[in-house]
Symmetry: C2
Subunit: 243 residues, 2 copies
């Protein structure tokens, strides 16, 4: 079989998983430092502050996908993600739970949500994601969500490692993560099924693979920006948060 | 005078210059290493390879501004920038001259233009610029070009330092930069006059200042990405150029 032949759905899934093996940010040095207890409180604050912008942008990203899906059942399925992140008005959503984390780390909430201390590198990477789902095909937009295939592992490492290693972190501070352990697999089941079904040519399958690579790279770039600014060499750019 | 009062054109220009003093990437450590002769050939290659994407995107950025300017004389003025970068079919433009630089450094031209080895951080920062000029007001789009107020100094440092310190660099390799020393001041004269004239409220003046800060930050972020990947700690992300 030549390498330009159509892949079976199973073979496509295997290639998607291989991308995670190579590029998912579970392999990034900053992640190892974070869950291994090697960061100062200020460095963990910088992580939470920057990651807030990612969390806060996810509903806009998902709403752009809902806006482009063609049928009520597809839109309902994807709308659930917006509910997960924005809440339903009673149970707090993911964005609110992330602010509980930045609160717990002693960051001023107005400062966090003002984005005044955000690293420009974080901003550009997150905005690249929001633009991607608007500008690329729906197939690629859906495929770019598939990093959630790999997120239960990184969340488990993060939560157990941070609870064990940092006295300034509690289960309550990390309440963001628990619901994600059940939400993410549900989201993945739908999105993976969708791309396996809707990528009807090898060229479309390559677009799916490219979209997942793109997404892995932008998660990685966020940790690169943090590592550069706050670990080594530790040079936050002008205007950015200083612990 | 309160700090919410309208600024005189001269006071606006002074605040613009102060932003350069604080945030222009002439103060970035990577720039000091580059012109100071402290980088290996591979590190200089990484810089040229990544900066190519910025150069190659400038005509798209400028065409978006031309598309939004309201009168023939304004569009003609800005169209000159596209000619400077894309050439006129006989004299090479800035993009072609940049490729002479990557050639001179021994990089394969197809590899450079494929963008295969580009740092994701470079891509996001450059794309953020292209999106900015499409999405913000024309006033902000024009103001974001004003980093050229500061570019003659950085170009002089770069050219003289690189010629003195690297035996793999020649005047011919650096031919990109000479025309910029006359083009940039001409561009600045127009853009600076435009923002001083068209920013008619203090709120609009603040947008002008914010646009220049934004632009400085994205030039800075490009050097952050290079420094992280190729200097310290020196960890290129998966898929990026390895010297």
């Amino acid at each position: 079989m030549s390498d330009s032949a159509f892949l079976s759905p199973q073979a496509l899934e295997e290639r998607l998983r291989a991308i995670g093996e190579e590029r998912y940010h579970i392999h990034h040095r900053f992640h190892h430092l974070l869950h291994g207890g090697k960061l100062s409180k200020g460095q963990v604050q910088a992580w939470a502050l920057n990651r807030y912008y990612y969390q806060a942008s996810i509903p806009a990203k998902d709403a752009s996908i809902v806006a482009r899906l063609p049928t009520p059942d597809l839109r309902r399925e994807w709308r659930r993600r917006i509910v997960d992140h924005d809440g339903d008005g009673s149970a707090p959503g993911g964005v609110e739970r992330w602010l509980a984390l930045t609160d717990g780390l002693g960051l001023d909430r107005d400062y966090v949500t003002s984005l005044a201390g955000l690293l420009p590198g974080t901003r550009y990477a997150v905005d690249a994601y929001v633009h991607f789902v608007k500008e690329r095909s729906v197939l690629e937009a859906v495929a770019s969500s598939l990093t959630e295939m790999f997120s239960p592992d990184i969340i488990s490492q993060r939560v157990s490692g941070m609870l064990r290693n940092y006295d300034f972190v509690s289960e309550r501070t990390l309440a963001y993560f628990n619901p994600r352990l059940t939400q993410a697999p549900q989201d993945v089941a739908f999105a993976l099924d969708y791309v396996k079904r809707e990528a009807r040519t090898r060229a479309e399958q390559e677009l799916v693979l490219g979209a997942l690579r793109f997404k892995c790279d932008l998660l990685w770039a966020q940790l690169d920006a943090l590592h550069h600014a706050y670990v080594a060499p530790g040079l936050p750019p002008p205007g950015a948060f200083r612990p």
